[in-house]
Amino acid sequence: MSYSETLEQALIVVRQQAVLMQRCIQQRKLMDALKHASMMLTELRKPDLSPKQYYELYIMIFDSLSLLSSYLTDNHPKLHHLADLYELVQYAGNVVPRLYLMITVGTSYLKCADSPREEILKDMIEMCRGVQNPMRGLFLRYYLSQRTKQLLPENAIEFNANFVITNFIEMNKLWVRLQHQGPLREREQRTKERKELQILIGSQLVRLSQIVDDNLVIYRDNILPVILEQVVQCRDVVSQEYLLDIVCQVFPDEFHLSTLDSLLESTLHMHPDVSINKNVLTLIDRLNGYIDRKEQEQETAQVDSDLFKVFWNYLKTLNEERPDLSLQQFVPLIESIMALSLRWYPDNLSNLNALYGFTAQKCKDYGKAIPQSAEYLFVNLLILQNFEYVKRSAALFYNIISQCESFRELLSLQNVPLQKSIINTILDTLLSTSTENGDVLVIDSKTNLENLLSVMEPLIRFRVTATTRRPSNSALGLSDDPTEDEEGNGSWVLDPSQEKLAKFCHLAVRSLPKESKQYRNVENQVEYLLLLKNWYYKGGKNIKYTYPAIITNFWKLIRKSHLLKSRQKLTKETENNYSNMIKQLFKYASRCINDLFNVCGSSVIDTVYKLNIQSASLADQLSLGEIAYDFFSQAFTVFEESLSDLNTQFQALVYMMQSLQKTRSLYQENYYDSLIVRCTLHGSRLLRKQDQCRAVYLCSHLWWATEIAVIGEEEGTTTDFYREGKRVLECLQRSLRVADSTMDNIQSCQLMIEILNRCLYYFIHGDEHDTHVSVKYINGLIELIKTNLKSLKLEEQVSEQQQSATRLQDLHIDDQDTTELPSRKKFVMGLDGTYIEIPRTNGTPASISNKLNSVYINEMIHIPLEHFDRTCEYIVNQREIDDRFKVIVV
């Protein structure tokens, strides 16, 4: 009998014959039914079908044969004897239909109580050898397996297991053979087809696992060895990878635990192209999943042997026996074993150390530079990023770094950018403890802090260069000019890595173990800080990122020591300790500031200056006048020697004033006097007149202390404020002279109005004989301003005509309707004298300029005009609450 030409025809034939067969069954014409069955089965002889097509035929036929099978069973032995039929169908001339019929009849017979089951089964499986074509054979054997599924004898586990194993082995052979069918150029296609068929083979192992159930002894002694032998012997990559994977998946965890050695051993004999790591990973996933499952059942996973040891030994053996394995093969294997160790023995980091050491050796043995394509492998190992169940907590990394020397070794073997990225990740994790996620990091000894720092060393030392900087900042849209600005107002180059190091400093100081005596804590914190300082010093210019954080922490310790000292009743000795400690801490802070200055130079001048000022403020608050004075002096030195930029100078000096104005401990030894005089002097020496003027009128506040509520001062109650009205007035007068001599009329008027406002400040603040700022003086000033503004207005009118004319000309509009000018721009002047153009639309940033833009001279003229109006309005308003304002003439 021959089969159809095309799949379509074949499907039609199968359908037709199936219908005919069914009709015969209904009419109880068995012989005819068998004949139709046989014709239908002939289509399964058809070659050149893809697995999917063949399956399509198969599944249709399977269903029809199921009908036949029930008929056969139901009517045995009334209408026929199945033993006879079993012989009868063997007369079929073609082997494929014959065997399908045999299996159909044979399995129908199995359902009957009187059948010689084992014989039939043995015979069927033996006869299946007649089909050696891979695909037809696979389906035939799959048919056998499907048909016999429920029919294997009871309580015959060994027989059944053998039956299924035999079928499995034969199927695997056929499956492997499929690879070699057809022309060589279709190899890929064959592999694809094989993958489509793999489930047929895999199903045999599933069957096996059902048969074996929980009988470990049979599995271990009889089944697994046979399976593994077959897997090893078939020498086929696809098969070996797939089958080992399936074995790991279908049998129970407990089985794997008892047969680990054999499983691992088998991988040593695999085809060289088999990715062993995948199989080992599956196995380890299983074992790790075992713990999960046990935990879900609230049981503990118990294993007699040390799993890590098993895998460790395996790793070593593999390393010896398979020197050909690539890094891509080998390292993931190590990673898997690491996953195992972290899951089963989370506290045993010596395992990890061993693995890191092993990997490091592997790295060294590799000899040449690790190719870029393999880098990620090591990253995976070092930052443990692939383990879902491992919480990559700060504590974990901390423990690894402090307990696994080899971690550092392996890290150091990577190239610098890679190290940097790894350290960044670790730092991120460590820093995550700072947010409130319940994770607490304790760095329990200086040694361990040093371990951490040694890991970070590449990052500490990492030089920002043009090429390395770009990628990180471009993500933000904020990129930095690669050339470092050596000017005092240099821009800041953002460096995310250095930023992390700075943050780590805060973390480290807060992460040390707590002692019962606070003084000990402070001492320890100081030690940690000094350690950090020394390590970070290695970063060279990078300290501009990290030292401010260290200085902050010294400051905090200063205040902490002070509070501890003042809030506790302590022994003299402890009190002295604290006092000394505070002094010492100021020295450390000073050292840091100096280092910053010496190493980074002018790029950090402003910062250095302000750090000095703030250190001074801090000392002042602790009534350490001398120290405060030293720091202020230091700030002045910096100012005098290095702060050259105009804008930087002005704001720096104003900040000095603000800080000095809040000091309280410098009155001894004339420290305060000398400092404020020096400050005023600098103010009056500023290069630009307007800066001079503003600095000087602001300096007036240095002679007029205002209340600091937190230390109990209160306006009207406190009597000993440092106030010298005469000096206040002197400053104001002096600044007025500067304002007056300012050549720019707008700036000059504006400065005078600002001075007027200062006068009003003092006017509100105190009596005229205290402040020396009298109504007469204010009225005089107002007169002066009015006069000057009048002149300024003249300037405006002239220029406005001129300019509007020219502008209209530019726009080619006739000047008939001059009143309808586009709404005017509006400017105000900032407290540093900058021209701020008030934006006209919501949200737009103001454009700010240091220089007067003569195009808008008319609008600029309105700055002082309007400012004066507002000031006058204020004066008028104040009259309602303060009668004294009534004598001010506006």
């Binding site: 820093l431 953002l494 506790q568 703030q614 603000q658 509520a709 603040h765 737009t844 507002r870 104040q878």
Partner: protein, 292 residues
């Protein structure tokens, strides 16, 4: 129109990050049309990235530790300088922004008022004190969002102890007293609404001093209790334990982390003050109406 005001992050010099809850709060809404950084906010890549994600319209003024220039943008080589002060417009309001480190005397209301006058603004945002404040003066609205990280402050330590939050009635009384005092001197005017909710809007003048004293006394009391407990065991030991646990807040000398959101609709500005206390975020609301 929501405007976010953040100040004094001091990342990474003094702080590691914003409180996570702040980040979550700000991270979810994309409604913030403008973010204003009021000083000491430009040294952290991560922070700036975060702010940029919250709103693409970021206005920055210079704090004492900010550099004169911003990092240049990707597209232009020329670097923008960070101004000492600036003005933005939102709704009917002109808003002045200033870090405050160039205001002398520092945070002095009259000085701030003079600045507001000079800049011709209705609202003045300032920073640098690490203490959230909001008040109206002369019809103008003054807002200091405090430090968004609540970090160390080299100013005179500002501390709020637990006692501070004790009783509303007491607090209110104090406030009223202060308000009266302010009115007497003609310097302050009360915020029209939400007065009792607005705990942070005052300059903590008197009561802070009281609290400080109170606190010191109490710690002494604590201490003596400790002594009693240990008496039996170590009688001839040093009578002092040196085991006082200091609140981080005291060491930092700052108020808890805080920031402000200004919801501006026409001539109404609703100020939301977010304060981070004991791991929770508290919100207060103040409404400011612009006078014609």
């Amino acid at each position: 129109m929501l405007v976010l005001a953040l100040s004094d992050a001091h990342i990474p010099d003094r702080a590691i990050d914003l409180p996570l809850k702040f980040k979550k709060l700000l991270g979810v809404s994309n409604k913030i049309s403008q973010a204003i950084l009021l000083g000491n906010c430009t040294k952290s890549y991560e922070f700036l990235k975060f702010v940029n994600d919250v709103s693409s319209n970021v206005v920055i003024v210079r704090g004492e530790y900010d550099n004169g220039l911003l990092p240049a943008s990707k597209h232009s080589r020329t670097r923008e300088s960070i101004p000492i002060n600036t003005v933005v417009k939102q709704g009917d309001f002109k808003i002045g922004c200033c870090s405050g480190y160039t205001v002398v005397p520092k945070s002095d209301p009259l000085s701030l008022l003079a600045l507001a006058r000079q800049l011709d603004v209705d609202i003045l945002l300032w920073g640098g004190t690490h203490n959230v404040e909001a008040f109206t003066l002369e019809g103008k609205f003054f807002v200091n969002p405090g430090s968004c990280t609540g970090v160390f402050n080299t100013d005179w330590p500002f501390s709020i102890e637990d006692e501070d939050k004790q009783e509303d009635t007491e607090k209110k009384k104090d406030q009223n007293e202060e308000t009266n005092q302010n009115q007497e001197t003609g310097q302050h005017q009360d915020i029209k609404e939400e007065d009792d909710q607005n705990k942070q809007n005052q300059n903590q003048e008197n009561q802070n001093q009281n609290q400080e004293n109170q606190k010191l006394e109490e710690s002494n009391v604590d201490h003596s209790q400790d002594k009693d407990e240990h008496k039996d065991e170590d009688e001839d030991e040093e009578p002092v334990e040196d085991d006082l646990e200091l609140p981080e807040l005291d060491i930092d000398g700052s108020n808890t982390p805080s920031f402000c959101l200004l919801d501006i609709q026409g001539s109404t500005c609703t100020l939301y003050i977010y304060i981070y206390i004991d791991g929770e975020v508290k919100v207060d609301k103040v409404v400011y109406q612009k006078e014609d």
